[in-house]
């Protein structure tokens, strides 16, 4: 009996707006000009938020921070595709997602300054506290999506993790469950090419991360992560599929981390300036500016006014964050369980807290 091929895997890549700001004429109508403009403005806001966070860290006003520079399209484009009813499970490098969803920026600054109250997601949004251990939140999104399906709610969950996270067992176990139970979940890999100092090529021998979905029985797609239109469309399509009982999708956003891993890292120890500069030339705002100009939606004055507005809003949020009263020490015990245990009551009393 000759060998026969019993399964073939195809991995598609989506790009709508290229690095020169040229849009694919067949694909671009699927994302409205209005949406692209909103994305552009949210990306500027995310960049300003990020820049200010880096400055605050240098001034000792917040702690260690993970920059999103270069990943604004991957984050904003995907986040905007979700509705507020959907549930999101971010990692620690997702400021762009949170800002795009309207998560109060002052709370994010509080969080990065070491105040857990910043992760108390406001009502109206369903965003889980960012996962600090890498990739371990992938099954949570699957579980929430599974619950939506079991309860007959027409919603979806989305989970953000990086190329490093795709090496974790949690990633595979989460994807496997999602495939088996056809859960309405979108797995958003932010492949920014580096897991601290380890390059993507050392993370997996596979050509793409997108293809890892195939082994779990559903579709994976790679998108140009610096093309906000492609990221938005791929996420919208995945959500449409998820909410129509079509099951999960893995989207690999192919992007680049232009900054250090965190403010505690020095990326010059492990990657070349040339590489970073080559990617800087492909960063997502450049092409979007060119595209918007082509369709008559961009002028220097417009961008300046968007930036100014973003800066004013971020500055006001920082002010709010820094004026916020310090946390009650009792908080560190209070939320461990739904109710205080007798031992905890004793500990609070002995410490003179929460009277």
């Amino acid at each position: 009996m000759p060998l026969e091929i019993i399964e073939k895997i195809e991995v598609k890549r989506l790009q709508i707006i290229n690095e020169r700001g040229e849009a694919d004429p067949e694909l671009i109508p699927s994302v409205s000009d209005e949406e692209i403009t909103r994305c552009f403005e949210a990306m500027i806001l995310a960049r300003v938020f990020n820049q200010r966070a880096l400055s605050l860290q240098r001034e000792g006003r917040i702690g260690t921070y993970a920059s999103i520079l270069g990943q604004e399209a991957s984050q904003v484009g995907s986040a905007r595709a979700f509705s507020d009813d959907d549930w999101l499970f971010p990692s620690f490098r997702e400021s762009g997602v949170l800002v795009a969803k309207g998560y109060p920026m002052w709370m994010l600054y509080r969080y990065w300054a070491g105040d857990e109250r910043g992760m108390k997601c406001p009502e109206g949004l369903n965003i889980f506290p960012m996962s600090v251990p890498v990739g371990t939140h992938v099954p949570h999104a699957m579980g929430a999506a599974w619950a939506m399906k079991l309860k007959g709610h027409r919603k979806a969950a989305g989970v953000y993790f990086g190329d490093g996270g795709s090496s974790k067992g949690d990633f595979h176990e989460g994807l496997n469950f999602a495939g088996v139970f056809k859960a309405p979940v979108v797995f958003l890999c932010q492949n920014n090419q580096w897991a601290i100092s380890v390059p993507r090529s050392s993370q997996t021998a596979a050509k793409t991360i997108a293809q890892k979905a195939s082994a779990h029985g559903f579709e994976g797609i790679q998108v140009d992560g610096n093309d906000v239109a492609a990221v938005y469309k791929a996420t919208k399509d995945a959500l449409e599929k998820a909410k129509n009982n079509g099951g999960p999708t893995l989207i690999e956003c192919f992007t680049y981390r232009l900054d250090d891993h965190t403010t505690s890292d020095d990326a010059s120890r492990y990657r070349s300036k040339e590489e970073v500069e080559a990617w800087r030339a492909k960063e997502p705002l450049l092409r979007l500016r060119l595209y918007l100009e082509k369709i008559g939606k961009w002028t220097k004055g417009y961008e300046e006014s968007v930036t100014k507005k973003a800066e004013e809003s971020v500055d006001a949020e920082i002010k709010k964050a820094e004026a916020f009263p310090p946390p009650d020490p009792a908080d560190l015990i209070r939320y461990t369980y739904a109710e205080l245990t007798l031992r905890q009551k004793k500990e609070m009393k002995e410490s003179g807290w929460g009277s």
Partner: protein, 320 residues
């Protein structure tokens, strides 16, 4: 009222809770058609259907990780892990997520799930099927740890665990699953978490134990005027019951099968040392597992605290 063993009592708790609350679902390996490797979930699939009694892939991390998301969204997952040794694959999900989501989100999200797992030696299974790792979980704030010892409290405690708003690890003594039959009320009743039960009152000596070892500790107490406390919930544990008893008897022996070093007995002993040392007439003794890996069948009987070892401890404290 009917006579049930612990398997039947847990099964009955699951039946009743699933009937009472449509958000309660069972997930795990072989929990559906097979009824679980110990048959604890037998009949539930037929009664509640495949959307509520769900066989999952063979993936302990996946089961617990998905249960975190299920619970956070509003389901009440009761996850079965076939043996306690296999729970280790899910430790990060429990320690880094389930235990701290409420705190990390300052109360916005919580993980009200139950993880059921058989624990302990005594059934001569393969390796890693006999772990008794309660202390690991008791050390981690944010989860509760429950160990039933009788059909009556197994049913009542599991019902409380399912209704509890936090993550509960429910450790089922596999050795006792079918070895004790006792009266269990048919209808709804709960045994509250966090409270110990006095199995037997006594004046000379307080014995604290739980799960499988409780029965050995009680058997060894024949001939002693011992007060025997079944702790039942290890986290949060009933400090008051222990202190009240020790203040009366002046002597304390703790019996557990888990290794002695940093075992939960150390916590009980430290509590008494801190809060009631002036009442003690004798040193606090622990009868516990050795500083050794849990053995396979041939050495099992040497590992488990024997009646003789327990009696010796009772005799020793009585010499003071």
């Amino acid at each position: 009222m009917g006579k049930l063993n612990i398997v039947g009592a847990i099964n009955s708790a699951l039946f009743e809770e699933m009937g009472r609350d449509s958000d309660v679902i069972i997930i795990g390996e072989d929990v559906g058609r097979d009824g679980g490797v110990f048959r604890v979930t037998e009949g539930l699939l037929e009664r509640f259907g495949p959307d509520r009694v769900i066989d999952t892939p063979l993936s302990e991390l996946g089961i617990i990780g998905a249960a975190v998301g299920l619970a956070a969204y509003g389901m009440k997952p009761v996850a079965e892990i076939q043996f306690m040794g296999f729970l280790y694959a899910g430790l990060e999900q429990i320690f880094s997520h389930a235990a701290r989501i409420r705190s990390r989100s300052r109360g916005r999200f919580s993980v009200p799930m139950v993880i059921r797992t058989p624990y302990g030696i005594g059934i001569k299974p393969p390796e890693l099927h006999s772990e008794s790792s309660e202390a690991l979980f008791c050390h981690m704030p944010g989860i509760k740890v429950v160990v039933p010892s009788t059909p009556y409290n197994a049913k009542g405690l599991l019902k409380s665990a399912i209704r509890d708003p936090d993550t509960v690890l429910f450790m089922e003594p596999s050795r006792l699953y079918r070895s004790i039959k006792a009266d269990v009320p048919d209808g709804d009743y709960v045994v509250p978490l966090g409270r110990a039960s006095i199995l037997q009152e006594g004046k000379d000596l307080t014995v604290v134990s739980w799960g499988t070892m409780l029965h050995k500790a009680a058997e060894a107490a024949e001939g002693f005027d011992a007060e025997i406390i079944d702790l039942m919930t290890l986290k949060p544990f009933d400090e008051e019951a222990i202190l009240t008893s020790v203040k009366k008897t002046g002597r304390l022996v703790i019996v557990h099968e888990a290794p002695r070093i940093a075992g939960f007995g150390a916590e009980v002993a430290a509590l008494v040392a801190e809060e009631a040392i002036e009442y003690l007439k004798a040193p606090i003794l622990r009868v516990a597992g050795f500083e050794a890996v849990v053995p396979m069948a041939r050495l099992e009987d040497f590992y488990m605290p024997s009646l003789e070892r327990i009696k010796k401890a009772y005799e020793r404290v009585m010499r003071y």
